[in-house]
Assembly symmetry: C2
Homo-oligomer: 313 residues x 2
Amino acid sequence: MTQPLALGIDIGGTNTSFGIVNRRGEIVSKGSMSTTGHATTHDYFTAMKQVLTPFIAEFGRENINGIGIGAPNGNFFTGEIVFAPNLPWRGVIPIAKTVSEMFGLKATLTNDANAAAIGEMMYGAAKGMKDFILVTLGTGVGSGFVANGQMIYGNDGFAGELGHVIAVRDGRKCGCGRNGCLEAYASATGIVRTANEWLDERNTDTILRAEIGKITAKLIHEAAEKGDAFALQLFDYTAKILGQTLADMVAITSPEAIIFFGGLAQAGELLLGPVHRYMEENMLNIFQNKVALLQSALPDADAAILGASALAW
Amino acid sequence: MTQPLALGIDIGGTNTSFGIVNRRGEIVSKGSMSTTGHATTHDYFTAMKQVLTPFIAEFGRENINGIGIGAPNGNFFTGEIVFAPNLPWRGVIPIAKTVSEMFGLKATLTNDANAAAIGEMMYGAAKGMKDFILVTLGTGVGSGFVANGQMIYGNDGFAGELGHVIAVRDGRKCGCGRNGCLEAYASATGIVRTANEWLDERNTDTILRAEIGKITAKLIHEAAEKGDAFALQLFDYTAKILGQTLADMVAITSPEAIIFFGGLAQAGELLLGPVHRYMEENMLNIFQNKVALLQSALPDADAAILGASALAW
């Protein structure tokens, strides 16, 4: 028999958020602790135990079906976080095993984008869909591909690295060491790189020129909303590269929808409008006018917890 | 209860092959008829009925579990062949329904590359694999993606169009009307196009120069085997484009293996050697040295029938 509650833990680069979630996908209670500031992973786990033990006790461990954990570079098969560039720890962290032993509950790990995809499938924009792609546009670009109603983990648990598909052959350097990855263009950091490059090379008049050195995706978004032509061109360029890459992805998994999540996705139609246009322009005819582009339907602050908790069922 | 035999039908551009297959994947009996030379699809189906009725009767209709059909542009969900450029018929052909009614047996259709993937999974190089990609390198480039042990058909049944992923942005014209598709480079016709272009542009000494106007993939393969530098460069160039594209595909579905099938794949290590090298060179580090490149393990003439028949179980 399954228990009525699940514990979802989302480990981000700065904060670790957690929440008790019921069967209907409602967060009954939540909290957070710092991911950083612990000298070792042992200290981090000690802090987690102190925070989560009373939290779990409040609802009764016997009522909790299990723990779901979302984390960058989290591997579903091994339960390990593996060389996550955006977390304070290096190497391989056996997090599912550690958390499971700490609280005496089954614990399941996956990467943050996969967790978001599962959350959308259970409670969000992908409810009832069997074939869709979840794309996170944040500091990096992540993705979760769902086919036949199942997450594609691949043979090693690392499937769904859309951010590291080569979008521009011999293009700009990516954090992974290769050149031209989608992540180097279509993430929040990617669009800022484009802005800085263009400001360097061009004399275009733009309200962003006053912000040189401290440009963010949010500032570009605000400038575009005010009709700044330079900012709109930045969205158009980013959308073109993303739309072209998505057209190729549709040819592989033919999804019902592509769902966007994360900071840069908050630009909404300003980004997704041109992404949709470029995707259609670049798509094989049999796929045209079939694929919906949607924004995440999960409340932003809660999505990661919901997604992680969904693993526990 | 399932019956002990299945009928597999492979509809190719020239011939329609069929065979009775048992549970162990052995073709008990087989035959073929012409796909072309029929004035209408009605005439084609009439001819098929004449040929297959006694063939089925020989084994007893009651012993046959169903009919599996593989055909270019065959759609698993609708049972229709849809605008297949390499078949003599235009428009939409409801082939599963027609065949099913004609013989009073359940009939299931899929495209030829998916059928080959299912055949490899049941009887060939992918036996026991849950995550792999089957790539057909023939007149065109086809593919079947398998994840979690299931064929990815996508939302509309058309998933797996690897041949129409853009391998070279703004590259050469493809039969689909777009530019730079993988199929325009890494198919048997693609490598011949490259050969003809290079012979036009360059004065390189090659035994292929004597064959201008009648160069085939087979001739290029033979020249390469004799050590012809020009032919080897053709394989290297084709392998580079294929390897780069496959590196991107691995990032999405993280397969255990990629299995190659079809005319150009018969070049074996001459092609797959450099494909493997370019794939590894272009791959995200977490996927390196994990993915096997294999040639189909199905006897060539029978593979299509076996693959199609596998749909009937």
